[in-house]
């Protein structure tokens, strides 16, 4: 890799991009973009003809060189767009590369060996399957899986998140990523990446766009653009024959200009910039795509499998209501529930205290000499024994009944049943042997989730909630969150089955997962997002990795995929619609000598044939550079149905594409006349 000036500010970014856009004039680089390659060829030819005319003193040399200048600018603008898109990623790649220095590491022959027996080796020489010992303060040299020990790891270099995370052998938090730092303790790590193939390497290549391969859709679009170029080649190459039949000759320079303005230079020039910028948006969202194909597939997704916990609900049951037994004061119940939970540090316990505070306005302090009773799997109760002998307990229904020695009164029993039926968890609160009431614990759906799913539904995406809960609980939460379907008591096999069923129905499925047992489903899904905190197996099976380990990210990935496709389609439509105006600018200009009557086609009232041709060529170059921000930012996208999207985008980019060039070419023509340039 060559040394780049690190673009620290916006102007640096632009300077680098400008320099790159000239370097990219190298024909070997241009060849990758057929439309721009052809434009450059025509520009070169026009330059040569202009120079020849200049040397021989023929008239028209000035115009030819003027046209050539704008043709070259058209190519340079396209290069600039690409370079700018690449530049944004490069800054990030440089910071990543800084963490990837060559270090000495301690290699173990066996995972159970002590660090004293380790041999020293270079981090770059590590191979998959070897064991290394990494201690506090050291950088993890490459990707791997913790096989012994437990450590807190600072992953900020990769995720930007500064709080260290725990990594330990066994379980679903065993994966460690190269470039992260061990903050405390130590780990024995089995290397899982071959040299140069680590996650960090892949990420650097990705953000730099160096290993960027064209996505299937991009390839198809490229073929269409080449096809259109060929069609216009037929049009332009046959034109001299028809013109000479009509008793007129068209200068080669003008034919070249007509050709370049007709071929889809706008989309041809911006296509790769759109692709790179799309990937960049993903990187910004802290998602790493292992292939561009996955990003495109994300736009096509029909079914989203979402894990309930963390995505749809906060993941912990919380107290939703405290319902007193008949004849018991609600405040007494609240006080008792709070006392029974004061020592309970679980989220459930804390939420009961919170609920009580809501009802009482305050909560009792921990009474002096009180003795906490912790929850055990045997008693399934927890609470507090006060110094004055009062005993407060809360717990599962059967446990409380056993403790109290009697069942709750009929009205309360009905409440308990109702809570269980609604998918919630009832906890009875008891003081001594008196049952005071019931706490309704439930999964709380995250705010805004319902609206999000409604948007997805409008886009034609079905959401399926995956949960380990029983069907009753699952149904209640599904109804509350507004998902289309749910899979209760889900096992990895059921997930896999569900994906296969959806796919057999012709639907594309996206899911996220983290555990090793998710790996088969992740691999089967069309779009699989693995959590970075997940196991290496899950990360290997997925085609996208979310560095933030945030399961809601799946929805964002879908949006990025859609925006990428929309941007391409919009600019293609715009580019092709532009041709109408260009015909009306150039055709009268080149035919008016043969048939003065064809002046009626000059609907824009352009000043002269020369100014008309120049205006079209200049517009063609300026619109390209004018659309660079749109290409990099992506077309605005609001979730809505396909019909609504089509109507909106067809109006803006189709109709706009028809009208804008008429106005633009006319304006440029007026400028040229005012500046005496044509």
């Amino acid at each position: 890799m060559s040394k780049h000036a690190k673009p620290t500010d916006a102007s640096g970014l632009y300077t680098t991009a400008l320099r790159q856009s000239l370097i990219k004039l190298d024909p070997r680089q241009l060849w990758g973009n057929p439309v721009m390659f052809v434009t450059a060829l025509v520009a070169a030819m026009t330059t040569l003809l202009g120079l020849r005319d200049l040397a021989t003193g023929l008239p028209g040399a000035g115009t030819a060189l003027h046209i050539a200048l704008w043709l070259w600018l058209c190519v340079i603008f396209a290069n600039f767009a690409e370079a700018l898109a690449e530049g944004r990623g490069r800054a990030r790649a440089d910071t990543l590369r800084a963490t990837k220095s060559e270090t000495r590491v301690r290699m173990l022959a066996n995972p159970d060996d002590t660090p004293e027996t380790a041999t020293q080796t270079l981090s770059t020489a590590l191979k998959s399957g070897q064991f290394i010992y990494v201690a506090a303060g050291e950088i993890v040299p490459t990707d791997g899986e913790a096989v012994r020990g437990m450590a807190s790891v600072n992953e900020s270099a990769i995720t930007g998140e500064s709080a260290p995370v725990i990594r330990e052998a066994g379980g679903d938090r065993s994966s460690v990523t190269g470039g992260t730092t061990i903050a405390s303790d130590w780990l024995v790590i089995r290397v899982t990446a071959e040299p140069g193939k680590s996650f960090l390497d892949r990420m650097i290549a990705l953000v730099e766009g160096a290993e960027r391969q064209k996505t299937p859709n991009e390839i198809a679009l490229n073929i269409l653009l080449v096809g259109l170029t060929l069609i216009f080649l037929f049009v332009v190459v046959t034109l001299p024959a028809f013109a000479s039949y009509s008793g007129t000759a068209i200068p080669v320079v003008v034919l070249g200009a007509l050709f370049v303005t007709l071929i889809p230079t706008t989309i041809g020039g911006l296509l790769s910039a759109i692709g790179i910028a799309g990937m960049d948006r993903l990187v910004k969202a802290n998602v790493i795509a292992k292939s561009g194909r996955a990003v495109e597939a994300a736009g096509d997704v029909d079914t989203l499998l979402l894990d309930k916990t963390g995505t749809i609900t906060f993941g912990n049951r919380m107290a939703d209501a405290l319902i007193p037994a008949p004849g018991v004061d609600a405040r007494r119940l609240a006080e008792a529930a709070a006392l029974a939970s004061l020592a309970d540090e679980t989220p459930e316990g804390k939420s009961i205290v919170e609920k009580a505070r809501e009802m009482l306005g305050t909560i009792p302090d921990m009474p002096l000499g009180a003795e906490p009773v912790a929850f055990t799997a045997q008693t399934r109760l927890s609470g507090l024994d006060l110094a004055d002998g009062r005993r407060f307990r809360k717990g599962a229904i059967d446990a409380v009944i056993r403790l109290a020695g009697h069942t709750p009164p009929g009205a309360l029993a009905a409440q308990v049943d109702a809570i269980a039926r609604s998918g919630g968890t009832p906890l009875l609160v008891v003081e001594g042997a008196e049952i005071l009431g019931v706490v309704h614990l439930k999964d709380i759906v995250k705010p805004g989730v319902r609206e999000r799913f409604a948007e997805l539904r409008a886009m034609g995406i079905r959401t399926v909630m995956i949960t380990g809960d029983n069907p009753l609980t699952a149904a209640a939460i599904a109804a509350e969150a507004g998902v289309d379907d749910f899979l209760a008591e889900a096992t990895p096999e059921m997930k896999l089955d569900l994906i296969r069923r959806e796919q057999a129905g012709g639907r594309l499925v996206a899911m996220c997962g983290d555990g090793s047992n998710d790996a088969p489903a992740l691999a089967q899904a069309d779009v699989g997002v693995a959590m970075n905190a997940g196991t290496p197996a899950a990360k290997e099976a997925a085609n996208l990795i979310d560095l933030d380990s945030d399961p809601t990210k799946l929805i964002e990935v879908v949006m990025v995929g859609k925006q990428l496709l929309i941007s391409r389609g919009a600019l293609t439509t715009f580019s092709i619609a532009n041709d109408v105006a260009k015909y009306f600018a150039i055709l009268p200009a080149i035919f008016v000598a043969a048939y003065p009557g064809l002046g009626v086609l000059n609907v824009m009232g352009l000043a002269s044939p020369t100014s008309a041709i120049l205006s079209a060529v200049i517009f063609n170059a300026l619109i390209l550079v004018g659309l660079v921000p749109l290409a990099l930012r992506g077309v605005q996208y609001r979730p809505s149905s396909a019909a609504a999207l089509l109507r909106r985008n067809l109006t803006i980019y189709g109709l706009g594409g028809l009208i804008v060039p008429f106005l633009g070419i006319k304006a440029i023509d007026l400028c040229l006349v005012a500046l005496n340039l044509a």
Binding site: G227, Y245, G506, I576, Y583, L601
Partner: protein, 557 residues
């Protein structure tokens, strides 16, 4: 009054086509009475064909090519040797090699470009056993191919598109033949001759002797219209009183030209299991048709002030007038029929341009039997791919994704139009041997060249009269162009169908690109106009548009 007449014509056409589509679906699905099925089985077994064996796109394409090649060889031989063969009461000699090539290609490709004059250069045997047979089977080929291609788009995931021999036979036996018999009987009743006797010599009222050609015309005319063939029995085609004697025969023929092509729109909707899809295609074609008819009608009825007030009657039959000629001209060029009841050469410049554009966009405004539908599906693939991305999904049509293979093939098929028309036309406008064909000076001469190459590439068959189509250069070049216009579209389209049918069908959701409704129709029309018509804008500017502007300035050609 005019608009009521046009309206009634459309209503009748749409109604008949709607009904025919239902029957056609039964035929191609094989839901036929057992007697008809037995006939099929017997015939196919006789030919050694197993109708149950499905063909891949390649197998289907090869069967089409083999069948048409055999048809070409037979017809070519027949035309060359007709002088020595029976059923030749007027003693007409064998055709020259280049003209026989041109004629054989022309009829095999459903073009029916006529570089000859039937009554002078063809024996009755050639007309009946040669041309009429090809009129049936070339139309049958187009219909079979269209049905196979539609299957590729709509059928469940699989590999085969159907059996060409079965589809072709069903088209001919159960659709073209019955309709032709009805129409032929009607035309005969209107006064179209159907006889094996030779020409008669009559003495006119002024005492002059006159040879009046006749022959087995009614049967051939019926299929020439129904199969969008267009090759007349007589040289001047349906302008001839024996081909088209009355207003009633004119109306019947006008309806027959578009009947099957319109039915194909509805058949498509039926086969897709979503009739809205068929209506969308129909609406697209109908709007383009009405727009074209509007221009032709307006210019022809307004006439040429340079020739006095009133309709433009030059080159038209008194019994039809401007309006029926305008309707016919639009219909025959919209459908790739090519039969004429007036001389398009004498139309006003912009009316002539409309007929040309209808052919240049690839004969997709109803188009040839079958061919019009698969031609429009080519635009659908392009339109869906271009704009489909704008809804944020990989473009898909009827639940199947359009990917690089389909785009490559569509572009390949699409290139055949500019190749045939622009390259063929450019050479014809440059080479001295070809230029000799031009009758009129100035832009009108260029229009004649363009019309000929547009007609041949679009497999239409009509011509700007007066242009020397019989020059060896053109008989050969146009023959080649006709082949390109036919097979360079059939094969890629079959390949697209073969590729589509292998893909899983995705269920439609509200996120699916809608391919019915006004929005899609608008998009499709714009695609046809911008990709199809605009390609020819430069040459049209030098031809008809230049002629029109010159006419407005008081100059004529």
């Amino acid at each position: 009054m005019t608009f009521i007449a046009y309206g009634l014509y459309f209503a009748a056409l749409t109604g008949l086509a709607w009904a025919l589509a239902a029957a056609m679906q039964r035929v191609f699905d094989g839901r036929l009475p057992s007697g008809m099925l037995r006939v099929e089985t017997a015939l196919l077994r006789g030919a050694g064909v197993d109708p149950a064996r499905g063909m891949t796109w390649l197998g289907y394409g090869m069967a089409v090519l083999a069948f048409n090649l055999a048809g070409f060889v037979l017809l070519y031989t027949l035309l060359r040797l007709q002088g020595a063969l029976p059923l030749n009461p007027d003693g007409i000699g064998g055709m020259s090699a280049d003209l026989a090539f041109n004629t054989a290609v022309s009829f095999v490709t459903n073009t029916n470009w006529q570089a000859y004059s039937g009554e002078a250069q063809l024996s009755y045997l050639s007309q009946m056993a040669g041309l009429t047979v090809q009129n049936f089977v070339s139309a049958g080929t187009g219909m079979a191919v269209a049905v196979a291609i539609v299957r590729g788009f709509v059928a469940p995931k699989g590999t085969t598109l159907g059996n060409f021999w079965l589809d072709m036979m069903r088209s001919v036996l159960w659709i073209l033949l019955p309709l032709s018999i009805v129409l032929a009987l009607f035309l005969a009743a209107q006064g179209v001759p159907q006889t094996l006797l030779g020409a008669v010599t009559a003495t006119g009222v002024e005492g002059g002797e006159q040879i009046i050609a006749r022959g087995p015309a009614a049967a051939q005319i019926a299929i020439k219209q129904l199969g969008t063939n267009g090759g007349g029995f007589f040289g001047v085609n349906s302008a001839h009183p024996f081909e088209n004697p009355t207003v009633a025969s004119n109306l019947a023929q006008c309806l027959s030209i578009l009947l099957i092509p319109v039915s194909f729109c509805f058949l498509f909707g039926r086969m897709a299991g979503d009739r809205r899809q068929g209506w969308a295609i129909f609406a697209t074609m109908a709007i383009l048709f009405v727009a074209g008819l509007g221009v032709v009608h307006a210019y022809e009825v307004a006439g040429n002030p340079a020739l006095g007030l009133g309709e433009n009657m030059e080159g038209k039959e008194q019994r039809f007038g401007a309006m029926l000629s305008a309707l016919w001209a639009t219909s025959t060029t919209a459908a790739s029929n090519g039969a004429v009841n007036a001389m398009h050469d004498s139309f006003m410049p912009l009316s002539g341009m409309v007929t040309m554009v209808l052919m240049q966009i690839g004969e997709v405004v109803f188009g040839g039997v079958g061919a019009g539908l698969y031609g429009m599906l080519l635009y659908v693939v392009l339109a869906v791919f271009l704009a489909g991305l704008m809804v944020g999904r990989t473009p898909e049509y009827l639940g199947r994704k359009i990917e690089s293979r389909e785009v490559t093939l569509a572009v390949l098929a699409f290139l055949s139009m500019p190749l045939g028309i622009l390259v063929g036309g450019a050479i014809a406008a440059t080479v001295p041997q070809a230029l000799a064909a031009v009758q009129d000076p100035g832009p009108h001469g260029l229009s004649e060249i363009l019309y000929a190459y547009s007609s041949a590439t679009g497999n239409n068959g009509s011509a700007f009269g007066g242009w020397g189509a019989a020059l060896p250069w053109h008989t050969t070049a146009l023959g080649v162009v006709m082949l390109i216009g036919r097979y360079a579209i059939i094969l890629p389209m079959l390949a697209i169908a073969g590729s589509m049918i292998r893909k899983p069908k995705a269920a439609a959701t509200s996120g699916t690109f809608p391919t019915h409704g006004p929005l899609f129709v608008t998009l499709l029309i714009l695609t046809v106009l911008i990709l199809g018509a605009l390609t020819f804008f430069p040459v049209l500017a030098l031809g008809p548009i230049a002629e029109e502007t010159a006419r407005l300035a008081g100059q004529s050609f």
